[in-house]
Symmetry: C2
Subunit: 167 residues, 2 copies
């Protein structure tokens, strides 16, 4: 499969569940190419579990040859323990993208919500509703991790288009 700059892999990383979605854009229309979740085994050494995320993302980059990837920017909320865990999962995703040569971009959650709903403080349900609409799906995209990943991919595609139009 040839690389196509308008195919974007969105990823919502987590050590329990890493949601992903491959979204394409052609003539201003978005379409869902594939989506799913990487779910590492729940027990065992953290290195092995991170390696499952790393391998999973590297496989997706190989299979779908996305032109670019989008990731949610680090959030500093919650507590230090969860920040450390999310940091590790994020690194596995970043390293897999770098290893496979896919440029990866980060967006804060607020910007993703703004892009797909027009409101940076939008509720979770509203984001899911707009992801479904923008991708022309009959049903909401499940699980939520995959839908959030699709929102990231859509955000990246929209911002790329806007940036190009403004030039």
């Amino acid at each position: 499969m040839s690389k196509c700059a308008t195919t974007v892999l969105g990823i919502d990383p987590g050590i329990g569940t890493t949601g992903w979605a491959v979204v394409g854009e052609a003539g201003g229309k978005f379409s869902l190419i594939a989506s799913g979740c990487i779910r590492p085994r729940r027990t065992g050494p953290v290195g092995e579990r991170l390696h499952e995320i790393f391998n999973g993302v590297a496989s997706l980059c190989g299979e779908f040859s996305p032109g670019e990837a989008a990731l949610e920017e680090s959030f500093y909320g919650k507590n230090v323990k969860s920040a450390l865990v999310i940091g590790q999962a994020r690194a596995a995703v970043l390293l897999a993208a770098v290893e496979t040569g896919v440029p990866i971009f980060e967006y804060p959650a607020r910007l993703v919500k703004q892009a797909v709903t027009g409101q940076g403080q939008a509720a979770k349900g509203q984001v899911g509703f707009m992801v479904r609409n923008l991708l022309g799906l009959r049903e909401p995209l499940v699980p939520e991790d995959a839908s959030d990943a699709a929102a990231l991919a859509l955000c990246h595609l929209m911002r790329r288009t806007t940036a190009a139009a403004l030039r």
Copy 2:
């Protein structure tokens, strides 16, 4: 170089400086095989900087064929931002070890201090002093990140020996 279970790679991960030390043990004596630091470029995408740590650790595993590696266990101190950053650097180290097939073990700082100085609350300087003594070095091991990495490797070697002796 053949794999030797008594050659241990100690790693003290950080996005700015990742200290490392390869320590060998033969007949109850410890020796420093090599030590140094991985210093990713200070600017640029975090994925690229993490990739420098990942590649650096993978290269060390290839060059020195350590039987095992030792890493400081996650600490939850400081703030959420530093926890996220340290989590990312730790993941790069863990993934490089898994990729190269080197079993990696984690030790809390308290246990490392206990192992090399006999005191879990030992001061930094005392740890450096004992690392120098245990490795029979004329001068303190510098920089401190490399010395801390050597302390981790020594802790792992001592606990392995004790564990074996108790069997």
